[in-house]
């Protein structure tokens, strides 16, 4: 790997050593990253899955507009989310009284807002496909609107797990929004992506690459776990 147009080579081996040494600062950064992103993913799931499933199984005025909007919001630029949230959470903003700016909570909210449209839109698509398949059977069993949402979410649980993973991946890889609303405070709101940005700016490329490897490894481990879960489910749950 060539850096800065010169002949200098980044030593990936020493980058890995740094990571594998289990440095407590590094572990705390990785831990905070996971806490923030897992919490944001679960919060977005708690809102996005029921909402997506409701839109999928209901007919009402403005439904098409909501679907178009959800699909459009999937591409929400993180920096814009970060900036809007920054202005809202700032002491001079409408939600300033909560004192959430530059806290992990602000980062969780930012990531939740960022991936909520993704989870809701993909859930809507997945559940609508299932609904086409199940509609007659569930109607014949006289399952009501709430019951069918719960049934379809359960029936689509493996597809939904993949959707949550997509959301998790996007949230974990994001840097712009958490940098703005978290402030990248050492030991408090510094996560993997903001550390990578910071260490790169300090010319500390080994550590940046090392953290990059951890981030990629994490996302890959979680993907593999989900894939294994799906494979297992295909064999056992039909």
């Amino acid at each position: 790997m060539q850096v800065n147009g010169s002949t200098r080579i980044v030593d990936v081996g020493s980058a890995l050593d740094l990571v594998l040494s289990g440095d407590p600062t590094l572990l705390r950064i990785v831990g905070l990253s996971l806490t923030v992103t897992v919490t944001a993913t679960l919060a977005a799931a708690a809102i996005g899955i029921p909402f997506g499933a409701f839109v999928a199984t209901s007919r009402f005025r403005g439904r098409s507009a909501i679907i178009v909007m959800l699909n459009a919001l999937m591409g929400l630029p993180p920096v814009v989310v970060g900036l809007a949230l920054f202005l809202a959470l700032s002491r001079s903003g409408p939600l300033g009284g909560f004192g959430l700016l530059f806290t992990p909570s602000a980062m969780i909210i930012a990531q939740t807002l960022l991936i909520l449209p993704i989870i809701a839109a993909l859930t809507r698509q997945a559940i609508e496909d299932l609904w086409l398949e199940y509609a007659h059977e569930l109607t014949a069993m006289q399952i009501g609107p709430i019951g069918r949402i719960m049934t379809l979410v359960y029936e689509g649980r493996f597809a939904l797990a993949t959707i949550l993973l997509a959301g998790f991946g996007r949230a974990a890889a994001e840097v712009g929004a958490v940098m703005i609303v978290g402030g990248n405070i050492d030991g408090f709101t510094r996560v993997m992506t903001t550390t990578i940005a910071l260490e790169t700016s300090k010319g500390n490329l080994e550590l940046a690459i090392g953290l990059g490897i951890v981030l990629i490894a994490l996302v890959m481990v979680i993907n593999a776990a989900t894939w294994a879960l799906r494979a297992w489910a295909d064999r056992h749950a039909g």
């Binding site: 007659h136 059977e137 014949a140 019951g147 049934t151 029936e155 749950a237 039909g238």
Partner: protein, 250 residues
């Protein structure tokens, strides 16, 4: 879904009356007429066979009876059965959708949907009736087509139906699996459940039927007792259908 059923205790009372009565019922999908001007009583007794070529409207007629679709014109009335309640109905589709869980859990789901106890005994009883108790823990989607159809029957029976509607339940099954399904249906009918079954299998009509309703081109072409239908068909459409001609309209 029962909004088309007239909730009037004075209509259609008496134990000899029909469970469901269709008066002047038509159903149109968009501009295409599917069913036209049907008059039909479904009374308790041996199974009623809806016979007719593909596309004649048999499935739609069953869905009308179930309340899955509403008539575009005419009336559909349900009689109150003993105890003053409306008849309970259950439906088995040609290709039933299995829930992604075990056979037992599929039955439990149907019991819960019907507001009934999901005790181990209740589940075992239903699985026994369709000879599937030995596969109770098997994921339902891993069952063979015939086993899935029997599990669908168990789910339908979980509703304790007065009227059991079956839409070509054996159309995609081999003879052995077909016989297993027919045996269960015959037993259920003997227990007093009114069975209405759509099929284009004349042998099945002969084996199960109390009476036959011949549907051709969205109209009822003939209705008679099974034996009469096959031996002494009274309409030209029925004669041609039995002779194996392509019958497209009455």
């Amino acid at each position: 879904m029962q909004d088309r059923i007239v909730d009037d205790p004075t209509s259609l009372t008496g134990s000899d009356g029909p469970l469901v009565r269709l008066e002047r019922v038509s159903y149109t999908a968009g501009d295409t007429p599917i069913l036209t001007d049907l008059w039909l009583d479904i009374a308790s007794g041996p199974p009623t066979i809806l016979l007719g070529p593909n596309g004649a409207g048999k499935s739609t007629l069953l869905k009308l009876l179930m309340g899955l679709v509403a008539p575009t014109e005419g009336n559909l009335e349900a009689r109150r059965v003993l105890g003053g309640r409306l008849p309970r109905m259950a439906f088995v589709f040609q290709r039933p959708v299995m829930l992604k869980r075990s056979a037992a859990a599929n039955v439990a789901y149907a019991l819960r949907a019907a507001g009934r106890s999901t005790s181990g005994n209740a589940i075992r009883d239903l699985l026994d009736r369709v000879a599937l108790d030995h596969l109770r823990d098997r994921p339902a989607r891993r069952l063979s087509a015939g086993e899935q159809q029997r599990l669908a029957l168990a789910r339908a029976l979980a509703r304790e139906p007065d009227l059991l509607l079956l839409d070509e339940p054996t159309a995609s099954l081999d003879p052995t699996a077909t016989k297993a399904v027919e045996d269960i249906v015959a037993n259920v009918a003997r227990e007093g459940v009114k069975v209405v079954i759509a099929t284009h299998d004349m042998g099945q009509a002969r084996r199960l039927g109390g009476d036959v309703v011949l549907v051709v081109g969205g109209r009822i072409a003939e209705r008679s007792a099974t034996e009469d239908f096959f031996k002494r068909p009274s309409t030209e459409a029925a004669r041609r259908f039995l002779a194996g001609d392509l019958v497209l309209s009455t």
